[in-house]
Subunit: 339 residues, 2 copies
Amino acid sequence: MSGTNQLRQSVVLKRRPKGEPRVEDFETVTERLPEPGAGEVVTRTLWLSIDPYMRGRLREEQTYAAAIQIGEVMTGESVGEVIASADPRFAVGDIVVGSRGWQTHSVTPGDRLVKIPHGVHPSTYLGVLGMPGATAYAGVTEIIKPKKGETIVVSAASGAVGSVAGQIAKRAGARVVGIAGGAEKCLWVQDNLGFDDCIDHRSIDLARELRTACPNGIDGYFENVGGAVQQAVFDQLNRHARVAMCGMVSQYNEAEFPPGPNLGFVVGKAVLIQGFIVSDRPERLPEWRKLATPWVADGSLVYREDIHDGLERAPEALAGILGGRNFGKLLIQVAYQKG
Amino acid sequence: MSGTNQLRQSVVLKRRPKGEPRVEDFETVTERLPEPGAGEVVTRTLWLSIDPYMRGRLREEQTYAAAIQIGEVMTGESVGEVIASADPRFAVGDIVVGSRGWQTHSVTPGDRLVKIPHGVHPSTYLGVLGMPGATAYAGVTEIIKPKKGETIVVSAASGAVGSVAGQIAKRAGARVVGIAGGAEKCLWVQDNLGFDDCIDHRSIDLARELRTACPNGIDGYFENVGGAVQQAVFDQLNRHARVAMCGMVSQYNEAEFPPGPNLGFVVGKAVLIQGFIVSDRPERLPEWRKLATPWVADGSLVYREDIHDGLERAPEALAGILGGRNFGKLLIQVAYQKG
């Protein structure tokens, strides 16, 4: 047991954000890294994942997970390098992933860590081969179940979840239409991800663009954003359409949520709307990793990372993802891997 | 081939209702009853079913079924007595059920008729053992899937569908809470149907009454009404709640539908909202009839009929069911069975 006689920095919640999170809502605290107890593993953080769901944890009220308290370290998935271990399954130098929080170092029970195999780029275990990828996989295969020739729409199509969701639907033989913010993202979604079309949600007449892109209506919708995009898509759903409700990022900064769609169409068109949280299905993540690792290796599953340097950038990165200013899977590079 | 040399009356749509349907929106036409063609069966109507879905057919736009055109006979399920038959499966005197329209007599292909067995009261094939009963059965068993000890809420609880839905959920061991309009209906739902509680949707603080009746939250909701009731129930849904969207009768007379609930909770609580139409599952009706006929016979499945006399009462009866003025399964007794 050695190498732990050092300092760690953690980002803690200073006050609950009103609207978009600001740098001043957080503070960085420095403390001596504790020694690991029995079964614990000490890791140095390499990559921290920033995800929209984190905004929900900053609210007073509990959602599906407990709220983060003032003074508490921000939660989050991250990749780290083992620097000390009291769990025989982990050795110094191993690269692991787990829910390790916004900090430069972590002392975590080995049971909560997963070793990342050699030959896989570690950051992918936070994105395309991580929780976002497994979320896309669960939503498309369990809820939307696209059939050949059906039209599937994916919002936040260039994001970590949406980009994978659309590619899975394409593999199932569906016509896939993305919705993203701005021409650059839309072009990337079409040209690099291979979606059949992609619409800019800032366009003047979203409903019309959607009708043009989906001449046979919409059979499945992977929902990441809510708001006006949701209404436009719902208006064009076909009978027996399936909606995988993954997120509604457009309202995460709002104190009060606006009214939603009248649900008469759900009856008349026999529509399925299903919310889901990937952590309810822990078996899906290893299943997805096994399935998709070869696709990432051979380049047939495309992903893009949006990397910011330094733990201190995490708060502004979170604000950015909520405002749609990221482009691809948002990551903080907290430190560099040795060797 | 005889007995058809007579007149029939049919209720046709005269103009599309604005708001609540009025008697003047319909007219009765009289014509000579045509002779049956090959395979057709001539019937004299005994019972006509009046159901909320009929309002949707009066709208200009198509929903899941084609709109009724001006001058066209109103569609509807009814029970009739065979008075002539060119289908060897049906004999004069047989009692049959089918989609026969708002008319005193009907000439229908035998393939679209079902013979009602002896020993069953014919009108039940329009209610508790008919489409409304099968709708309740499909919604509860396919979507809500109540588990022992869970809390299930049913709106329009004294109606043809809601009364059966709640009793099925009770048989599954759930705590069942009804919502109905007025003290008389609520008492009947509790005392006669055996629901654990029933709330008057006209009460001053519906949310509070619901919280009191559902101290452990709501795990399943059988939705028949929409509007403020829907919002109150949605606010108290538990994680992984299931909502069977059967109807939203509170808005069927509206020209423009009001906004609905913000769907953030669907994500956060991983809620399922599923619209369904029983005609998409034709196999459920005979299955339900087989299952429930003994329960009706032994009195363990309770139903109530609200009977109006004479075909000419059908338009005002339709207005009444949309306004919640019926009490139980709404039927028009068009003629009396002989013998």
